[in-house]
């Protein structure tokens, strides 16, 4: 009898607690989900369109990554982020994004990963990102990755359809001034990123992002696992750009005063 009572209390608390959250979640999902088409099957080897990811926590992964190498630990400690286990006050951060430096790849698929428009040409795909209004070219003509690439903010990418519904993209040549995420996780120029876009049905892609940087991390790791992306071809992608002068205005009005640092 007592056991039934306890079980009943569990159910009661769980049900009552979940009710407002489920309402909020449903309302938000309905307001943000594009108008549902009938769920047609996925087309073959095609992810053209406007895709909206479901959201990635901006907090970062400083408590979730594999062990650092000695170099990785050194680089991590040199980074002073506004988030994560080593977060510092606003005035002390050296986050390159605070200066409106390029966010770079793969951070642009980890923080502010908003709408992307995918266009397919015979030899390449173009990913146009809402945040920062940048684009990446993914070469799909069978070429190999360069052996000694010049480092750039968004890297050099090649993609291959491993089956009719899964595109796998490999990227190298990434400038080590960018961070992996908001918590200051570093990477070297030897970073190799794999993206896996699996089109589940006409409207949905599951997106997985893997990091391989043996100079920094002792093993490969999956940083995003089957993140859902939904198709919304009616979306007029708004502009969202980091502007240095606007950032300074923000810091002057808000960030420093909020941290009690306006007199610094």
């Amino acid at each position: 009898m007592r056991c039934r009572f306890v079980v009943g209390v569990f159910f009661g608390i769980a049900a009552l607690s979940a009710f407002p959250i489920s309402i909020a979640w449903t309302v938000r999902a309905q307001s943000q989900r594009p108008a549902q088409q009938s769920v047609a099957p996925a087309p073959h080897k095609d992810m053209s369109g406007i895709w909206v990811p479901q959201g990635v926590s901006p907090i970062g992964f400083s408590d979730k990554h594999p062990a650092f190498t000695p170099l990785g630990e050194k680089m991590f400690r040199a980074n002073k982020p506004g988030r994560g286990i080593t977060e510092v006050p606003v005035a002390d951060t050296n986050d390159p994004l605070d200066s409106c430096d390029p966010e770079g790849f793969p951070r642009n698929e980890i923080f502010e990963f908003r709408a992307i428009q995918v266009t397919q040409a015979p030899d390449r795909m173009l990913f146009a990102y809402q945040y920062q209004k940048v684009w990446r070219a993914i070469f799909t003509d069978g070429r190999e990755l360069p052996k000694d690439p010049d480092a750039s903010w968004y890297g050099y990418s090649v993609g291959k359809w491993v089956d009719d519904f899964t595109l796998v993209v490999q990227t190298v040549g990434l400038d080590d001034r960018t961070w992996i995420d908001n918590s200051g996780l570093p990477h070297s120029e030897d970073l190799h990123v794999e993206e896996r876009f699996h089109r589940v049905d006409y409207n949905t892609i599951e997106f997985t992002l893997m990091i391989d940087d043996p100079k920094i991390y002792t093993q490969k790791w999956t940083i995003l696992d089957k993140l859902k992306m939904h198709l919304d071809n009616k979306l007029e992608i708004p502009e969202m750009i980091c502007v240095p002068t606007e950032m300074e205005q923000y810091k002057k009005r808000m960030a420093a005063p909020a941290a009690g640092e306006e007199k610094r």
Binding site: G82, V90, L97, F111, V243, Y250, M254, A255, A259
Partner: protein, 142 residues
């Protein structure tokens, strides 16, 4: 046996609920969460000094008289413009001199700063940011 099974199901439900709650964190800026105390909500009434319509956040600056009659300048941030327009906010939503009531999540360190939840204008118009504490991330509000 049946009771044990029910208890297991209840525990599973409870755990799932906890996971849901823990993943429902508000999306805060990369440059720091500015130590906002998400367990508190305060409402202040004051006079608009400035309205910054810009990235990475819009910022409303207002002068507020405290209970001793001193004027304290408050700063309250909202989202980026492209998020805000979908909720009816505009570059021209506020002018210096407007009297507004701002509900916000305040800074933890007792600084006169916070993250806006809603603003009520003198004519009664209410603008919300759509980000009450512990709501699902609004990172996807495009």
């Amino acid at each position: 046996m049946r009771n044990r099974r029910l208890a297991s199901i209840a525990l599973l439900l409870f755990s799932a609920l906890m996971v849901l709650l823990m993943s429902s964190l508000p999306a805060l800026a990369h440059h720091g969460n500015a130590a906002f105390d998400t367990s508190k909500h305060i409402t202040i009434k004051g006079t608009v000094v400035d309205w910054l319509w810009a990235n990475p956040h819009c910022v409303l600056t207002l002068d507020v008289k405290d209970d001793k009659g001193r004027v304290v300048r408050w700063a309250a941030e909202a989202n980026i413009p492209s998020d805000m327009v979908k909720r009816g906010w505009k570059k021209t939503s506020f002018n210096p001199g407007d009297v507004v009531a701002v509900t916000m999540v305040p800074a933890k360190n007792d600084r006169p700063a916070g993250r806006i939840e809603q603003v009520v204008l003198a004519d009664g118009e209410t603008l919300t940011t759509g980000v009450p504490p512990n709501s699902p991330t609004e990172n996807k509000a495009y």
